[in-house]
Symmetry: D2
Subunit: 287 residues, 4 copies
């Protein structure tokens, strides 16, 4: 759902116990906030955990950002909350990392320009020069930053400097074919979104499309997830599949894979920019 | 989501204004209720309308049913709410109406017996005798009640008496091929669920499968909705489609139609039994 | 399936009777053709009709194009065939008509450039100037050709001249918001592909998204079809849907509609360029 | 596609070279056969392999079964074909193996009785007594045959005797929770169909639903395949998925898994009974 009036969104995660919703909604109400959306989820597992996303109109709300934080702090402490607040008027700022494949980048740029993705775009960064014209057409700065095997650490450190200088809130790996060094991943915890192909059954390792073809799979899929230090094992944000059959060549599988990859990545980015994703342990709650 | 501990669920619809969530959640909290699920929705249309579904644990909640109603009444009046309360321990009681086609009935009976549908089943009623053995296998009373053209009104009045005698909460038309008289529909407002085929484009009138075949459609679908006096025009609860192609004969379309019909009807029944559907004007909010 | 070696494809439609496959495949074999793909379909309706698509390698086939036509003619006459032949090395030449909305155009251009669509692109033509930069980025000529209400006939005649001058094989209406005059449609029979939204149930007329929203549909879809003189009623090539719910605003429905529209249109174009679509009466056979 | 007139179907696999289709279709034609359906597929891989399924009307075809085999043999030898012939009037005879879970069995029995699956049903065999009433309602013999850990070999040998005595053509494992001994698998090569859950990513080993839940997957799927001696690694016949989210408990995942399992298994059985599946190496071609 797009909320078109300026909104303030709280994301909350805490141990489950009675009174949380009452306290949070009372706090919003008594300061003049009108709730626009509210979602919550409780795990009924051994350990009960409570998750909440609540959005309210900025108009009419009487606390300035600093006052909101100060005012909410006692509630947060009382319930031992991990929490964050965001203002829809302050759009998230993204950087896109890409290599040579352009399907995800093309899709993201178009959706961004058409207003589907409520984010600002700081740059496109690539270890190859190929996609500069595409970025240029959309007026987005393009940085060509090769990563050399023998000096990957230094190159990624330079990259991290560049990213840091652009003050981005999160990074999108739009088919960026380099493994990020741990110090990069640690700099943007739960704020780097990656896309990769997924098969049933899984084909871990090299040439997955070739092997999926040889196995005659009837589905190929894509998974968008937050990057953690365990490669491709981070919390899943979105997934989808597409049907295929014996007529599909390896190239057809790759083509269909592109379609599902770009769709799933765009969906994950949209959910992230709208503060709809909470991570707990290695799992997401997507409101 | 299945909630496995006994729960109390409030369904609320009212004009939107600040303070509703705070008031409702405060009420639940102060009487010892622990919220299990909460969903809300506001229409941002000309007329702002607020919808809410909130479930809390029965265990620990200190008000008896009568006390809950009395205690909540002032809040409901203050916000001009339409509202209802249900207890998961008091399962809804359903009656199924069917003619000769058994695909929806088979599916519902199996899902009901396997525990997927949290309802009690009062009877299967049909204008034909054919499906009695099926109902018997699942131990459900079967009523054969023919509807004769020349005395449809009387026959349906007899049917309504029978249904009334069984104290059902809602009715499921599992491919019941008779048009219900207005007095039947009015007796169970927003409590009769029907399933019918749907095509893109629509083929209104007789022989829809034959005409969809002639038009070479690539999709066939099904729509489950609440019955209103406007035939097949009531609020939509669930919809889905299935792909088809030129190889599908009319019979194949009918076969595929059965698959999607039974799946969509079962989904609508599940949503209804779990109090997940709110109706406003001719539209549903499905939480 | 992509066939990567140069191939010759026959599309055949004729009354069904024994011996067709034998005759066609014998003809190909005796002139050195190796069959790559073969599909056939017979309608088992009142009138039995036979449809066939057969592709064979150009390499090794000993007949020149003119000889093929002359040599096949007796078989075609014997079986009263409607038939056509195409060479994959001679890619189809397309023209795209568009108005202001860019989602389908962006998608088609990207797929075309990435090699997914085996066609040449002669031009993008629009009644608005807005999308020229997009066409330019892909190096495709852009013609701005306004259509004025009071002189629609003349304007479309000028448009037809321009199209004719570009020697295109088929036209793609990528959200072209003008109704084509009958003389335009008649100039490219079964060679103009259009995309439009589709709903369950159908909302014919103005503001379909607004009305679908008011009705609370749970699905929105898109249909790609050949243009005939009956508006939006031509043979369906491809269809798909996307799920939606009460949280989707009218704008969300439009956004989701864009996603499904561009996917379905691209699929229809791909099928057409690969000679996979046969039309009979108002229906397609898609091999 | 359902062919409603009695048909003869040839399944052919051989090295690819020119003239195969011509020879086969000429053979059918000269003996009076009218082709109803024909599909072929060539692998364009290192090793070119040709696959074909061709159905023709039994009415008018002048060769008796023995004559067909004798007459076709020279063609088969010339092209080094693996081939088989089947008559639609001689329906395949199936045996179903099941344990305690009834969702797949319920679905198969209903589809079988409703005429969707063109097979005869010899028996339902289970290592538990629980599902006997279900089989009885459909008039299918039920054999209770426990498999004891300490004498699995003997028990499965008894089972194989029983199956052999029933002269079945193929076996359906409708959630049969015992690993088949190699001698059982070898007795029905490419004629035992199994269904199992599938996840993205894969969760091999125990408690897959629990682990998929902990990982927060957004999809769960099912794969139907032929049983080989490599557990769950045989050629895939059909696959599908269903979406899920953080609200789904482990029990919800199991429920959704049941839905997709029974749908995918039924599809695989339908394809097998209609002779639509060819196996080559560890892959299927599904016509």
């Amino acid at each position: 759902m797009s909320i078109h009036q300026p909104a303030i969104t709280l994301l909350i995660s805490c141990p489950d116990r009675p009174g949380i919703v009452a306290s949070v909604s009372q706090f919003i109400f008594e300061h003049g906030g009108n709730i626009l959306e509210s979602d919550q989820h409780s795990t009924n597992q051994e350990e009960c955990r409570f998750f909440m996303r609540i959005s309210f109109a900025e108009e009419g709300f009487r606390l300035a950002p600093g006052e909101l934080v100060a005012g909410f702090q006692p509630i947060a402490e009382h319930f031992q909350m991990s929490w964050s607040v965001s203002y829809s008027r302050r759009r998230k700022r993204a950087g896109i990392l890409v290599s040579k494949l352009d399907h995800c980048l093309t899709d993201l740029l178009w959706r961004w320009k058409s207003g589907e993705l409520a984010m600002d775009l700081a740059f496109v960064l690539s270890n190859h020069p190929d996609l500069e014209p595409l970025a240029q057409m959309y007026g987005v700065p393009y940085h060509h930053l090769p990563v050399r095997k023998e000096q990957r650490q230094e190159d990624q450190r330079r990259m991290l400097d560049l990213i840091g200088g652009a003050s981005v809130d999160f990074l999108i790996l739009a088919r960026y074919m380099q493994i990020l060094e741990p110090f990069v991943v640690q700099s943007y915890p739960q704020r780097i979104i990656n896309i990769h192909h997924s098969f049933l059954p899984a084909f871990v390792g090299a040439n997955p499309y070739q092997r999926a073809f040889q196995r005659g799979v009837k589905l190929i899929g894509a998974t968008a997830h937050y990057v953690t230090e365990s490669l491709d094992e981070g919390p899943i944000i979105a997934q989808d599949v597409i049907h295929c059959n014996h007529r599909d060549t390896v190239e057809d599988l790759v083509r269909k894979g592109r379609d599902v990859e770009r769709r799933v990545l765009a969906e994950a980015v949209r959910l992230h920019t709208e503060d709809r994703v909470l991570v707990y342990e290695n799992k997401t709650i997507v409101f």
